[in-house]
């Protein structure tokens, strides 16, 4: 018997504002497979299996230091198990 296919997509949904513009750009840059869905006031970034947000990429885009945890200020929702360090945040399903 075939096991039902498990949905392994992870996502991060963020508010649309000036703070999240570089975050979204960093996500698209570091995750070539990610799909950016734009809604009024919200951007949802879907990715198969894994989504990584890297501090260094955002810092490069904004030209100054950036605290990775500050993405929480504009976070609407996310799915996946979170593995967070000072340098990167990884979303994926741990199984």
């Amino acid at each position: 018997m075939n096991a039902p296919k498990i949905q392994s997509t992870v996502f991060m949904a963020l508010q649309v504002n000036e703070d999240t513009r570089p975050i979204i750009e960093a996500l698209t840059r570091d995750n070539p497979e990610a799909v950016v869905n734009r809604y009024p006031g919200m951007v949802k970034v879907d990715a198969p299996l894994r989504l990584v947000l890297k501090r260094a990429t955002v810092e490069e885009l904004i030209g100054s230091d950036w605290d990775l945890q500050s993405f929480n200020l504009n976070l609407i929702s996310l799915s996946g198990n979170v593995d967070e360090t000072d340098d990167e945040l990884v979303l994926q399903w741990n199984r």
Partner: protein
């Protein structure tokens, strides 16, 4: 009955301004920094020539010997436009205010060892040098061409006023708000032999007319040599009683310098990268002004840093040489 909530997205017909689209390609959303910084300089169709400079237009590319095909190529690596600049400085100011409050509340100035106190007092005449730096950056803002570079110069000008004010406040902490320390510092600036070469250098720059030369002389050369010496700390000196107090009070300035340096280097690199003529011209300015700056700062070394000063001054000069070499402006 079920209620289905739907959202309707309305796509704007245009994502951006024409000037932004022309510079950054395509009609795409760009950052506020890009929107607010580039191609805002009035370029042509000027009316009357200014009475104070009838040879030139009111905004004119010829107020510096540096030549650029496009004066809007100066990118600020910090991406400061008005809002981001204010937010960043507000954060730094909040931290600085806390430090000043803490020092005052706990009367830490009274605990300063005499050599530390002397070092603190020796910083005070620099507020006049910082005010000169403010004037030079104001000049760049006023007579410069291109909104992206003049914007950065205005922020630098404001920062210099802030630094001058923080130095003044250190003086007021030292003398119990009587102003005596500041009066003494002004006398030193005006009369002490050791300070005269630096004062003369600052005052000579006040009458220079080429704005890019001013940017090079002040922000690259003088700051690059003076700041690491004046606000640097020789290894081990933080252990002296009161040294940490002084470090708290100058932290704004220490944080500011490496950040501003990124902007200065980016501006100079962009202009020097434009043509061999620009590079030669800027290298020539660097050579001339650094010779004067080194001579002007040398007598201040023992004053600013005591016995450890000589080693720190060597380090500061070596670091500065390396920076100039990296920018491709070292004398051949």
């Amino acid at each position: 009955m079920t209620v289905e909530i739907k959202t309707t997205a309305v796509e704007p017909i245009r994502q951006n301004f024409g000037t932004v689209a022309r510079r950054f390609g395509a009609d795409k959303a760009v950052s506020r920094y890009q929107e607010a910084s580039f191609d805002l300089q009035a370029q042509d169709n000027f009316h009357y020539r200014p009475v104070w400079d009838p040879e030139r237009e009111i905004y004119d590319r010829r107020r510096t010997a540096v030549q650029m095909a496009d004066w809007e190529v100066f990118k600020d690596p910090r991406q400061f436009y008005y809002a981001s600049y204010c937010i960043q400085r507000a954060r730094m100011q909040e931290a600085a205010e806390k430090s000043f409050d803490f020092v005052e509340k706990n009367q830490l100035i009274g605990l300063m060892a005499e050599p530390v106190r002397q070092r603190a007092e020796a910083l005070l005449p620099l507020r006049h040098a910082e005010w000169a730096a403010n004037q030079h950056n104001c000049f760049v803002t006023a007579y410069g061409f291109g909104s992206s570079i003049t914007q950065g110069a205005m922020y630098a000008a404001t920062d210099r006023l802030a630094i001058a004010q923080y130095l003044s406040r250190i003086g007021l902490l030292l003398d119990g708000s009587s102003g005596r320390a500041l009066d003494a510092a002004k006398r030193q600036w005006l009369e002490d032999t050791a300070w005269q070469p630096l004062r003369r250098l600052c005052e000579d720059l006040l009458v220079r007319k080429d704005w890019f030369e001013l940017l090079v002389a002040q922000d690259l050369v003088i700051d690059g040599l003076l700041h690491p010496l004046a606000f640097g700390r020789p290894a081990g000196t933080l252990a002296e009683p009161g040294a940490a107090t002084l470090a708290m009070l100058t932290e704004f300035i220490e944080d500011w310098f490496p950040e501003n340096r990124k902007w200065v280097d980016a501006c100079v690199a962009a202009a020097a990268g434009e043509s061999a003529a620009n590079r030669a011209l800027i290298a020539c300015w660097v050579k001339d002004w650094s010779a004067r700056a080194v001579a002007a700062i040398a007598p201040l070394v023992p004053l600013l840093q005591g016995e450890a000063g000589a080693a720190l001054w060597d380090q500061a000069q070596a670091a500065w040489q390396a920076r100039i070499a990296k920018l491709g402006l070292a004398p051949a």
